[in-house]
């Protein structure tokens, strides 16, 4: 009898190993090494000077605010802030890099050895199976660097590229994770949490489509149980959380399929193609791994006194994880509701402000669930409004929620108020007030309700017979019919009460 030494290839289970590199644009007023403004959307080359143009003789002078922001980001992610860090030149040639090198940090970054806990956040339940502790993702390093300019490549046969250097020299931090992530879900959760932290700190506006928060992913696969890492591919060109998730899933499937048939993975940089929903190898011409880093002679080592980062540590705001815990503990919100509210500091701040200084947990919970169900539903249906609009209208939404809860508005009236306000071109607070004023109030006139009930019972003798024959579930049908006759404005409790009396009496 033959004994096969190896299991059939199809029985091998693979796991993915994912590390993320995030570039976050710092919200300084001016660039990292010169006094040019960082405003987005200015006319081409309106914000350039000899330093960021790389003109001969110009010398970089580091922006103190950029350093403080990088240190705050490091402190908020449990990093060790290095007392001494060094700027280096990363050499490559590209038209949007005027100096021929990017000033970055190489072997001595400003922050090292941090971590981010994911899992308590979530819609998802990502925890370490055994301990039940939230998954801890290591942060290898955070370093400061300058952004490059922007190239626009001519379309329709134009054989030219157009270079705008307004972005050249805008301060960035690059946050490099350990390869601790295993699924695209974890990767996206990590990114959302990191983004929220940076936005809470006020160091980044977290805008993925404008590119102020960008992510590259290193993905490899290996048989479950193998310690050694597989060959990795770096994926670029993902500009939404969704594309990060899709690109990682695609890449895991691609690499796993290759491994199953025994092919080698080529180490390469691949670009996510959103339209075709696949990753494609970047042409080797565009690649350049030979950066020849060396310490920048124009910049002395950056020294950060312990006193400085202690002072900065004292300025850290309540961070998303702390806020979620507090809202769950003090206001009884569910984890999912707390997570959605806390995604944006403005959203949760307005939520808390609307509830006042001594929030009533019942009211808070009602408002939170109202936001997550009715308001989120309206946001999904009517795309012209955003969570920013909702945040701005929090007091009005609280009023609306209270009116609905106390029975002053029926479900149908509430839906109409939301629809009218969300479709209006006025600011949402004004639109809500107007729609509430027009909604009128529920019909509490017992005579009117009785008249409607009589009409409905007369119009549906069959159903009446069935009800009286014991099929009491027909009650719901009658309630619906009566509400319809009252144009959706009947007081639900009163309608039910009158109907029951008539039916059972």
């Amino acid at each position: 009898m033959l004994v096969t030494a190896l299991p059939a290839p199809t029985t091998v289970a693979y796991e993915a190993v994912i590390g993320l590199e995030v570039h976050a644009q710092l919200r300084t007023r001016t660039k990292i090494f010169c006094g040019c403004p960082t405003d987005f959307g200015a006319a081409a080359n309106a914000h350039v000077c000899p330093v960021c143009l790389g003109l001969p003789g110009a010398l970089p002078v580091l922006n103190a605010e950029a350093v403080q922001m990088a240190v705050r980001a490091g402190l908020a992610t449990g990093c060790e802030v290095q007392a001494r860090s060094v700027f280096a030149r990363k050499n490559y040639f590209y038209p949007d890099l005027p100096k021929g090198y990017q000033i970055s940090q190489a072997d001595q970054p400003v922050c090292v050895a941090g971590h981010l806990d994911i899992g308590d956040a979530c819609r998802l339940d990502i925890n370490d199976g055994a301990s039940g502790a939230p998954r801890r993702i290591g942060i290898t390093r955070i370093h400061l660097e300058e952004d490059a300019g922007k190239s626009v490549h001519g379309e329709g046969g134009v054989h030219a590229s157009f270079i705008n250097l307004n972005r050249a020299g805008v301060p960035l931090i690059e946050i490099v994770s350990e390869p601790d992530l295993r699924t695209s879900e974890e990767a996206v959760t990590y990114l959302r949490e990191l983004r929220a932290i940076l936005v809470y700190l006020g160091v980044c506006d977290g805008n993925l489509d404008q590119g102020s928060f960008r992510c590259d992913a290193n993905v490899s696969v290996r048989p479950v149980g193998q310690q050694r890492l597989g060959t990795r591919c770096e994926i670029k060109n993902m500009n939404s959380f969704r594309s990060v998730r899709d690109a990682i899933d695609y890449e895991i499937a691609r690499q796993t399929a290759l491994c199953r048939v025994g092919e080698r993975i080529a180490q390469q940089t691949r670009l996510w193609n959103q339209e075709l929903a696949r990753t494609e190898p970047m042409r080797s011409k565009e690649e350049s791994h030979d950066y020849r880093y060396f310490p920048d002679p124009d910049l002395l080592p950056l020294r950060i006194d312990e006193a400085v980062f202690r002072a900065l540590a004292a300025t850290l705001p309540e961070l998303p994880a702390q806020k979620r815990t507090r809202l769950q503990r003090d206001l009884g919100l569910s984890a999912a509701v707390a997570a959605t509210l806390c995604e944006e500091p403005q959203r949760v701040d307005r939520f808390e402000a609307a509830l006042g200084t001594n929030p009533d947990p019942k009211q808070a919970s009602a408002l939170a669930h109202f936001l997550m169900a009715q308001v989120a539903g309206a946001l999904n249906r009517m795309e012209q409004r955003s969570w920013d609009d909702v945040a701005a209208a929090m007091p009005e939404l609280l009023t609306l929620c209270e009116r609905w809860r106390s029975g002053g508005l029926s479900n149908k009236m509430l839906a109409e108020v939301l629809q009218q306000a969300f479709l209006s071109e006025n600011p949402l607070p004004d639109a809500l007030l107007a729609a509430m004023a027009q909604a009128g109030s529920v019909v509490r006139d017992e005579g009117a309700v009785q008249a409607a009930v009589d009409q409905v019972l007369a119009a549906h003798p069959k159903e009446l017979q069935r009800y009286r024959g014991g099929q009491t579930q027909a009650l719901g049908f009658f309630i619906g019919q009566v509400m319809r006759r009252l144009a959706g404005k009947g007081d639900a409790a009163l309608v039910t009460d009158v109907l029951k009396r008539r039916l059972d009496g």
Binding site: C52, L53, H153, H159, Y293, R303
Partner: protein
């Protein structure tokens, strides 16, 4: 990601080659020329190769010195970096910034198409 070759000289010495010994002068010149995005005529490559060999031989001579116990000195003096406040200063403006450019359009520098 930080590549293995941190100091530039290693890249020039080893480049993409498996071992330093495999790197011929011509390979090194071609490698550096590619990184610098310059085209060399054969006689220029030969001349630069000659110079590069001499420079690298000198560097090899320096590398022979045992510096294990010596702290690297990158900068003369180590007083720490002087920082500036986050305050705007006037720049050049697009017209002056692009005044020396061979071609401009709408304030942008126009260069030969970079991709595709």
């Amino acid at each position: 990601m930080i590549p293995m070759e941190y100091l530039s000289i290693d890249s020039v010495l080893h480049g993409p080659f498996q071992a330093p010994s495999q790197a011929s002068t011509a390979d090194r010149v071609a490698h550096v020329a590619r990184l610098a995005r310059i085209e060399l005529r054969p006689e220029e490559a030969a001349m630069l190769g000659h110079d590069l060999d001499r420079i690298l031989a000198y560097v090899e001579e320096l590398r022979a010195v045992d510096t294990d116990a010596v702290e690297p000195m990158i900068h003369a003096g180590d007083r720490g970096l002087v920082l500036r406040q986050d305050v705007e200063r006037d720049g050049l403006g697009a017209a002056m910034a692009t005044a020396g450019a061979p071609a401009t359009e709408g304030g942008a520098f126009v260069v030969p198409r970079v991709i595709g």
